[in-house]
């Protein structure tokens, strides 16, 4: 830690990058000049490799090396799997998401074992692969299958891993502390670049040889001892293994503070302390809650869900879980989506009139706010029900319906103004406005100010189709 601290992602200026570029303004990268390209690179909107002269021409070799160095994330990006079916882990530039943004949303691996009957094994793998949830127009999924050797038998493990590899194209984690068992499985799936879990103080040399031989990333496990973890990383780097992941131990229950603190200390050292040995992705293992066998299943599932969420918020770059229940995983894949949303992107959408389907002059007119999440939720509900209608998006400065009503940002006046501005009065012959249920308290005033009749719609936009079926067209 004696070296000068590398410039953080926010201190790095386009000029720092520009000075190391060819500065020929050749335009091969698609930008007008090298300065424009440097700006994109600094904002992480373009990888430096797009600059082909820099990569190809011998004379830029040292500049390229320097650029890679100054642009390297505080936490190394490691790839598990190959090609289309690979997943990137780590690659974090910052400790706090507001400092820039977080990259590579925490992949979630689900475990299977080499002692499961074949039909159960395949069925579980298929469930992992088929797990999806549609959230504001995005498909959220699970990412990895972790195969554990509970048998400690090389042949059994090899056979199970083969079956899993055949059943799914998802990346794999192979879990055993026994190098002979690991080797047997690696022979079976060497082309898949699975993550080897894990090197420990007892087996590190054999595991390192396997990682080198099969060109696989290697997890380093040190149960609660950060001096040992640091030492193992140093040793493995010297040994020539570069793609490492760190598991400092996920202690559930009474050990929770140990877990959270170690994850935090490691990430702080990597991002703020220039501690290169800690600059690798962190593995959280919420499935350690299952070590407590005396508790009922639902309790352990609950605890696993809670532990996973805390680790997503506190720096885990990869999670290994056992529960495959929808109610356990749903909040976690949504939390992951939330935390990894780019905070630099606006929270709001353009206000104004939106047209869905083919509305005519008797079609329903509704309004919502321009808070991105509110808008996308309403939009997806209207679209999935194939409703022909008009939707006025009122500018609330990106605040939701409930908060903007409470905060007096969404008022009868702003609604009346939005109606006028939208031009809807030329498009429909009726004067009925459907308002969000959460804005019900504004109905009287809206009627007074806008001259439109108000129909109070559902509190949640999922109720729109049922509401229209019952209330549209208006009976009076």
């Amino acid at each position: 830690m004696g070296e000068a601290v590398k410039k953080g992602v926010r201190e790095l200026s386009p000029l720092d990058v520009y000075m190391l570029l060819p500065r020929t303004n050749c335009g091969k990268c698609g930008e007008k000049n090298c300065m424009a390209f440097a700006t994109k690179v600094v904002n992480r909107e373009a990888p430096i490799e797009i600059c082909t002269p820099l990569i190809e021409e011998e004379r830029y070799r040292s500049e390229y090396a320097k650029l890679k160095e100054i642009l390297a994330p505080a936490v190394k990006e490691v790839v598990i799997g190959v090609g289309e079916n690979s997943v990137k882990v780590g690659g974090k530039l910052v400790m706090y998401r507001h400092e820039f943004t977080y990259y590579n949303p925490t992949p979630i691996a689900i475990d299977v074992t080499d002692e499961m009957p074949e039909n159960e094994l395949i069925e579980r793998v298929k469930r992992v692969e088929g797990f999806t949830y549609n959230y504001i127009g995005r498909t959220l999924k699970l990412d990895i299958v972790a195969v554990r050797s509970t048998s400690n038998d090389p042949l059994k493990f090899k056979s199970a891993v083969e079956k899993v590899a055949k059943a799914t194209s998802l990346p794999l984690i192979l879990c055993t502390f026994n190098p002979d068992v690991m080797k047997a499985a690696l022979e079976a799936v060497y082309g898949r670049r699975p993550l080897i879990y894990a090197a420990t103080k007892d087996n590190w040399r054999q595991m390192a040889d396997l990682a080198l031989m099969y060109n696989c990333p290697l997890a380093v496990f040190s149960q609660g001892d950060l001096n040992l973890l640091s030492s193992l990383v140093k040793t493995l780097l010297e040994y020539g293994v570069e793609d490492l992941l760190l598991d400092p131990g996920t202690f559930p229950e009474e050990g929770l503070s140990e877990t959270i603190i170690r994850f935090t200390m490691i990430r702080r050292n990597a991002c703020k302390g220039n501690d290169r040995l800690m600059g690798f992705p962190l593995i959280g293992v919420p499935m350690t809650v299952w070590l407590r066998k005396d508790a009922p299943k639902e309790v352990l599932q609950w605890k696993e869900a809670v532990l996973a969420a805390m680790l997503i918020a506190r720096y885990a770059d990869l999670l290994i879980m056992h529960s495959l229940e929808g109610w356990v995983l749903l909040p976690n894949i949504i939390l992951r989506f939330n935390i990894y949303t780019d905070p630099r992107k606006p929270v709001s959408v353009e206000p104004g009139l939106r047209v869905f389907g083919n509305p005519d002059e008797y079609s329903p007119v509704m309004f919502t706010t321009n808070y991105a999440l509110t808008y996308f939720t309403v939009e997806s509900d209207i679209k999935s029900a194939n409703i022909d209608c008009y939707l006025i998006v009122v500018d609330t400065g990106g605040i939701s319906v409930e908060s903007s009503v409470a905060g007096r940002i969404l008022t009868a006046q702003t609604v009346a103004d939005a109606i006028k501005k939208s031009g809807i009065e030329e498009k429909v012959k009726h004067r009925y406005l459907i308002i969000p249920g959460l804005a019900a308290r504004l109905s009287g005033e809206i009627e007074e100010l806008s001259g439109w009749r108000v129909l109070v719609g559902p509190r949640d936009s999922s109720g729109i189709p049922a509401f229209l079926k019952e209330k549209w067209p208006p009976k009076e």
């Binding site: 190959v82 554990r148 050797s149 509970t150 400690n152 502390f177 080797k183 022979e187 060497y190 670049r193 420990t200 103080k201 040889d209 396997l210 080198l212 031989m213 099969y214 496990f221 149960q223 950060l226 001096n227 640091s230 990383v233 140093k234 040793t235 010297e238 040994y239 020539g240 229950e253 009474e254 929770l256 503070s257 140990e258 603190i261 200390m265 702080r268 050292n269 703020k272 040995l277 499935m287 350690t288 609950w302 869900a305 809670v306 929808g326 109610w327 749903l330 949504i334 939390l335 939330n338 905070p343 929270v347 808070y371 999440l373 939720t377 605040i399 939701s400 905060g407 007096r408 949640d460």
Partner: protein, 420 residues
């Protein structure tokens, strides 16, 4: 990965290596030298690249038998673990969060059996190696003063007491283990029941008698009506150090903020300063409140959005607020409160989504729990919550987090071979 244009060529070589892989490893470790005779390279079978650190001997073309080659210099690899001590980066911060006490005992001029202190931190949340915070985060259970529509998973736990705020408060303290209760006077809303402030004050008095924990008084959201209700409640609850929830910039706009803040000061209460996810507005509101109140009478609510509906904005604004406060921004050095019950605004908390997402009876409270815990890690000091399972879990997590150094973590290496 940096293999660049030489990939194909290397793949070819690596094929031989991989196919012989396991054997080579044995040979390498035992003999340190390899023979590569009779190797057939089948390019179409090749699937992976080899790492660049493979000893050159292995990459030697098959035509040149390794045995005949001059001895290769293989870089020395460590045989023992090289020691590298882990030194956690430890910081100190110029700022500190003020400590706020909610509730007052008899000796202090109130009638509470216990009081709750929050805040006082001098390091980011749960950076326990830097500082063990003086106060654990606290939980206040939500109570409503009238019939309200609630998701079924919530309703079943309070069915018996809906419409009876005193009984509800007692249930929340005795059965749910809440540290405090928040009585939401929603019926005072002019657009709902317009309950007069005198009646609202009576409700608060009843709750103060039913429980001996600190009480938080929630308004209806109408600035003028809330001001009227808060002033009345402040008076009848004189000395109890209740928290008025909440004071807003809308009150300032309506010209009533000063009188409410003054009433809070005169009768010894705490206020919750609410702003909608904007730190500059939060600072502005605090500045206005400083004219009337001491710093240790102000808690901030920076807005809690539900998991899936903007939680990330709440998470980040709390992280930013706390780091700025510790960094010396005096106007943000207040403990924070989260309305975690807002989690139920997310449809995923209560809606039927299909059998694969059931039971909702677990999904809903889990939604509330995770919303709260995410903000706990961002630095929030107190949580307004509702579901008993969510309250229980957050309390347990807080207890476990404060156990640092005292707990003996169990052996977890066995997870790999665990038979579930």
């Amino acid at each position: 990965m940096g293999h660049g244009g030489k990939k194909e060529e290397r793949d070819e070589e690596s094929g031989a290596f991989i196919r012989l892989g396991p054997k080579i490893l044995e040979l390498l470790t035992k003999l340190g030298e390899v023979e590569l005779e009779d190797v057939e390279i089948e390019a179409e079978e090749l699937e992976i690249w080899i790492p660049t650190i493979v000893p050159q001997a292995i990459l030697a073309p098959p035509a040149a038998p390794a045995a005949a080659a001059p001895p290769k210099v293989v870089p020395e690899k460590p045989r023992e673990i090289l020691v590298a001590e882990f030194k956690p980066l430890t910081q100190t911060y110029p700022g500190r969060i003020v400590e706020v006490k909610i509730g007052a005992t008899r000796a202090e001029g109130g009638s509470r059996g216990r009081v709750v202190k929050i805040g006082g931190e001098a390091a980011p949340s749960f950076y326990l190696w830097e500082e063990i915070p003086p106060n654990p985060p606290a939980i206040s259970a939500d109570v409503f003063d009238m019939e309200v529509s609630l998701p079924r998973a919530l309703r079943v736990h309070v069915q018996e007491v809906i419409g009876d705020p005193a009984a509800w408060a007692k249930l929340a303290v005795d059965k749910f283990g809440a540290d405090m209760v928040t009585v939401h006077l929603v019926s005072t809303d002019p657009l709902i029941k317009n309950t007069p402030s005198s009646e609202a004050a009576k409700t608060i008095e009843e709750v103060l008698q039913a429980v001996d924990v600190p009480v938080i008084v929630g308004g209806c959201g109408d600035p003028k009506k809330d001001a009227e209700v808060f002033k009345r409640v402040a008076e009848v609850a004189h000395g109890e150090r209740v928290m008025l929830s909440s004071l807003t910039l809308d009150m300032a706009e309506a010209g009533v903020l000063g009188e409410v803040a003054k009433a809070a000061r005169e009768h010894g209460h705490v206020v919750l300063a609410f702003t909608a996810m904007e730190l500059n507005r939060a600072k502005e509101l605090n500045r206005r409140l400083y004219e009337y109140l001491s710093k240790d009478s102000i808690v901030m609510d920076l807005t809690t959005a539900a998991l899936g509906y903007g939680l990330e904005y709440s998470f980040t604004i709390h992280e930013r607020a706390r780091l700025a406060a510790l960094g010396g921004d005096a106007e943000l050095q207040h403990p924070t409160s989260s309305g975690s019950t807002n989690a139920w605004a997310a449809r995923e908390a209560w809606m039927k989504l299909g059998p694969e997402w059931e039971p909702r009876e677990l999904r809903g409270p889990l939604w509330e729990t995770i919303t709260a815990l995410t903000l706990l890690l961002a630095g929030v000091d107190m949580f307004m919550m509702m579901h008993p399972a969510a309250i229980h879990t957050v309390k347990e997590v807080v207890k476990n987090l404060f156990n640092w150094g005292r707990a003996k973590p169990e052996d977890i290496a066995d997870w790999v071979t665990l038979k579930v």
